[in-house]
Symmetry: C2
Subunit: 245 residues, 2 copies
């Protein structure tokens, strides 16, 4: 079911997207079409060209977002100037919502890594949706819970494991969430730099480059400029689990 909607006032051009994508999201899964229509009507759809910053770290969290198409990365800048890529957002995923619902500042930047389409809501709109449809509130809790447990699991790994293992884990996660099967393996379906990978795994681009080169050599991965293919997921998984491949 494809619908067209008008974006925020400033943009005249209607943007086409598949409303089913929203149903893939944690927050709106399982709602019937009618309610979903209301959810869409309460928000605004807009295009994000690659590089667009959706919101900035430190800004008051006054909007909640859901990605409809493309990829957005969530990047945190630390006091020492270093950056960490906290997560990559894909279609159907929410971002900024936790901060918004808690009246907190956004804890990180959100930047589109490819041309994308998102739908966003103001806090009052979000609250009203939850008031009218309590199941949305429950689902948002569940979503936060899932992420909490996921993060908690990753905490331990991050500090205690070697770089190679952390990189393997990062690649696996990326593969599961953004993998597109090709004849030659599973390709990460958006451009990602060594630097990005380093900021996810907590390392440097140099070490990532070397590690990736070694993995390429062994046929586990294939990498090029801003492109990574996982050729041998089993081996990668083995490496992530045990630290030896």
């Amino acid at each position: 079911m494809a619908v067209t909607l008008v974006g925020p006032p400033k943009r005249a051009m209607p943007i086409a997207f598949d409303i089913e994508i929203l149903r893939r999201s944690e927050m709106f899964a399982g709602l019937d079409a009618e309610i979903l229509q209301g959810v869409v009507a309460a928000g605004s759809v807009r295009r994000l060209s690659a590089g667009t910053r959706v919101f900035a770290q430190g800004d008051p969290g006054v909007t909640g977002h859901s990605l409809l198409e493309g990829r957005v990365k969530i990047v945190q800048t630390r006091a020492d100037g270093g950056q960490s890529v906290l997560r990559f957002i894909g279609p159907g995923e929410m971002y900024g919502t936790v901060a918004a619902l808690m009246n907190q500042a956004f804890p990180a930047d959100a930047v589109a890594v490819v041309d994308s389409v998102e739908i966003w809501w103001t806090i009052p709109a979000l609250r009203q949706l939850i008031r009218h449809h309590p199941e949305i509130g429950l689902r948002s809790t569940a979503a936060a819970g899932t992420r909490l447990m996921d993060l908690q699991g990753r905490m331990g790994e991050l500090t205690n494991e070697r770089v190679e293992q952390r990189i393997a884990r990062t690649l696996l996660r990326l593969m599961e969430k953004a993998g597109r099967p090709t004849g030659d393996g599973i390709e990460i379906d958006f451009p990602i730099t060594r630097q990005d990978l380093a900021e996810m795994a907590g390392s440097t681009l140099h070490t990532v480059s070397r590690t990736l080169a070694a993995l390429d050599q062994r046929g586990v991965t294939g990498s090029a400029r801003r492109r990574i293919i996982v050729r041998d997921p089993r081996a990668l998984s083995q490496l992530a689990q045990t630290g030896v491949g």
Copy 2:
């Protein structure tokens, strides 16, 4: 307002505790006394002698807990056998609840580090409480959100900072949450080993021992067997922020 209640069937001896402690918790803050009584009535109070394991990693999460007195640590064991101390629980804090409400396995062990008292609920009891008092559900969401943002903030720090800095951060957090002022500084009010600290900061007991010795030397801390006093919180904070003190 102190009340006495009967614990679970097996225990005859009533256990005294201050119901106000529950009001300090994220989940039950701001409820009026009557409702709070219902919350207490729906659960069971029990003593935990030091070393008692409340629940085990991997067990189905069928209970939610709130600590009334003492300290409980949440410890995760990784595939490689290594352990991470995820958090220390103090009076008024909930644990196991996220897993329980999401029908997931407990992601870690919960172990009493000193003689303690807790109140716990079954899943049905928790759900019923939330159904009858929706604000409890909202608060549990908010609590999960807070922890989520907190964890996310710590993620970046963990991998990119030096051990000394991570240890300083860990000490600061412990001080804020479990600090008891003494004439000589602020003492962590429960026994904690170098090993525990290492598992929190992602290091080894050897390095922690050396680091702590150095901090003691500089007058920032004072440490003994299973005891730590922060003598100069400012200096410690400085070290945590900038990496140099």
